[in-house]
């Protein structure tokens, strides 16, 4: 059975969804999706260990060998992402039971968990597959389930946010499929490795350039690359807390991962990228994202929206590293996927706790939170430090590599930009500290921490923010190995 782990990685959450729909009970639904996400996490870890030991694992779906059949391919890069996605999926499940019961209508709870399993399966599938079109299929599975998950949030604004995301997401997916259509036209293949090989010998570059543009814009919409991020703040602000956490930590990251695969493993070996300022464009957009979105975040009236805008800025750091594209910067980028994923899941889990107790997370209702919810406030403080990038937290390590990469290239303005972005992050995290610790709580305000099951997930996430800053074997170590794969393929 161990040989089939790549298939089971996707099949386990995928099959859990219809079983949940058959059972129709919220309790059973929670139990099954918890089991499925923990099994998926165990499989992801087992695969990562195997990749570290023996190198790339290739799995032929239906025994049709690649490039004819669909290949599932676990290499240093995808193993890294699988652990992140499955890890966050498992992390939020203990939290989900109470949080979902509070935020989603009871007769819809089992549908929520079914959609959650589908979303996990879709994101894991996008990560593990080695087939261009299969990426599109899983992109649609994860996107469609995401729209429903967002729409299940409380209030009618969740519906509007989901609809907005549906329109934008569909455009993104369409652009992606046009892009791979062009690639298929030129190469006659849909397998990542095969397409890369065939592209190297292609003389006619115009369709390849068009494919590059369509895929960049399509995935840019999905990963909320500035200025294609308009859907994100509303979607994150109005979705149920569990969904916000899971999406912030994984969905945009997986799209970044697919873009990385295209840039470094498909387009880089051909001459398609020569003379095209992809790196320059990415750096410019990332710089705008970091500065503008961090500034916008400072002025948000609500904690959830603030962290949503901060997510767009943080994605900017990731794409910044892709634009610089030397070894150190790429290591920083890939490590930031994990570090920011962990940091944001900690923050959104904690904010979900505030919403559970206080009804909303507007700054007006946060006054004196340090006295009313000391654990939650402390947790947001610690995760906030990681968001800023204070030494000895997860956020520091990836920014350090980004700065090293920029300095290596002599781009001192990028170094200044990363530092400036972190200083603006200090400003918005300080707004929380000010409200929570320096303001007096209003009389009769709701007090008390969220239930223990929710605090367990929060504690693990906050602890990871610190642990990943001190023990860098996972994030930096894996990122290094993945970068070796990416740049080795280019050379």
């Amino acid at each position: 059975m161990l040989d089939h782990l790549p298939a089971l990685q996707v099949v386990v959450p995928l099959m859990s969804a219809p079983i949940i729909v058959l059972l129709r009970r919220p309790g059973a639904a929670w139990l099954i999706s918890t089991l499925a996400s923990f099994v998926a996490f165990a499989i992801a870890v087992a695969l990562a260990l195997r990749v570290a030991e023996t190198g790339t694992v290739s799995y032929a779906m239906g025994s049709w060998p690649p490039p004819w059949g669909i290949e599932y391919r676990v290499d240093a890069l995808s193993a890294f992402m699988l652990v992140l996605v499955a890890g966050v999926a498992a992390l939020v499940m203990p939290y989900a039971r109470r949080s979902v019961a509070a935020e989603v209508a009871e007769h819809q709870a089992y549908l929520f968990y079914a959609m959650y399993c589908l979303c996990v399966a879709g994101l894991l599938g996008m990560t593990i597959t080695g087939d261009l079109f299969n990426v599109f299929v899983f992109l649609e599975i994860s996107s469609l389930s995401t729209y429903v998950l967002i729409a299940l949030g409380r209030g009618r604004r969740a519906l509007l946010a989901a609809f907005q995301y549906l329109i934008v997401g569909t455009i993104g997916a369409t652009f992606y499929v046009i892009g791979i259509g062009l690639l298929y036209l030129v190469t006659g293949s849909l397998n990542f490795a095969d397409v890369a090989q065939r592209l190297a010998g292609i003389g006619e570059l115009r369709p390849v350039l068009a494919a590059l543009a369509f895929i960049t814009v399509g995935l840019g919409l999905k990963l909320a690359l500035f200025p294609l991020h308009q859907w994100l703040p509303n979607a994150y602000a109005f979705a149920p807390s569990v969904v916000t956490t899971f999406l912030a930590a994984t969905a945009t990251k997986v799209s970044v991962y697919v873009l990385v695969r295209f840039y470094f493993l498909v387009f880089a070996p051909s001459q398609a990228l020569e003379g095209v300022p992809v790196g320059g464009v990415l750096i410019a957009l990332s710089a705008a994202a970091i500065v503008a979105m961090s500034l916008v975040a400072v002025f948000q009236p609500d904690l959830k929206r603030m962290f949503a805008y901060s997510s767009v800025a943080q994605i900017g750091y990731v794409t910044l590293g892709l634009g610089i594209a030397n070894e150190a910067a790429l290591t920083g980028s890939l490590a930031h996927l994990v570090n920011h994923g962990v940091t944001k899941s900690a923050l959104f889990l904690l904010v979900g706790g505030i919403v559970l107790r206080g009804g909303d997370a507007s700054f007006a209702s946060l006054a004196g939170l340090g006295q009313r919810m000391p654990w939650t406030s402390f947790g947001i403080g610690v995760a906030g430090l990681s968001l800023i990038g204070v030494p000895a937290t997860a956020g520091f390590t990836s920014k350090w590599y980004l700065i090293a990469g920029a300095a290596e290239q002599g781009s001192w303005w990028i170094v200044a930009l990363v530092v400036a972005g972190s200083l603006i992050a200090v400003a918005y995290v300080w707004r929380f500290v000010e409200a929570a610790y320096l303001a007096q709580p209003p009389a009769g305000a709701a007090a008390g921490e969220p239930p223990l099951s929710m605090r367990a997930s929060e504690a693990v996430a906050v602890a990871l923010c610190v642990v990943l800053g001190l023990v860098t074997a996972f994030n930096i170590g894996f990122a290094r190995r993945a970068v070796g794969l990416l740049l080795g393929g280019a050379g």
């Binding site: 099949v11 058959l22 129709r24 779906m61 239906g62």
Partner: protein
């Protein structure tokens, strides 16, 4: 349209033939045009015709909501189950080659069950979409 005698009689006469045609499209799919998706849509069309003529409540008595919703899940499980069967018989996931005594029969058997799963899910999803649109403004919880 419940009071229109011609419509009622024709709709009742039509329904079994539509269902039979769905079965033909389903099982002839591997030899000619057709397959699970098309057959599923035709099955759903038969029930939708019934619902349009005799009203949604009558169609819901014929095919209760609980059955429709279960069918959506069962179809997916059949499809995925074929994949797991391939695993258990010693092949890869979705490996049809190992499903029968030789690869050609194995492929045939695999696609047969996959198409059954597709038909079940497609027909029930079509019905569910129709029922949700048709019952808007009538259900107390909408």
């Amino acid at each position: 349209m419940k009071n229109d005698l011609v419509l009622r009689v024709v709709a009742k006469l039509f329904t079994p033939f539509v269902l039979l045609f769905a079965l033909y499209v389903q099982f002839h799919g591997e030899l000619g045009p057709g397959g699970g998706f098309q057959a599923g849509v035709i099955v759903a069309a038969a029930v939708i015709l019934y619902a349009i003529v005799f009203g949604l409540p009558a169609a819901r008595r014929l095919v209760p909501d609980a059955i429709v919703e279960s069918m959506m899940a069962i179809g997916v499980l059949i499809y995925a189950g074929v994949g797991v069967a391939g695993l258990l018989l010693g092949g890869a996931y979705l490996d049809y080659f190992v499903l029968d005594r030789d690869p050609v029969h194995g492929q045939e058997r695999g696609i047969f069950w996959v198409e059954i799963g597709v038909a079940i899910t497609v027909s029930s999803v079509m019905l569910k979409i129709f029922a949700m649109f048709a019952s808007r403004g009538h259900d107390p919880d909408e």
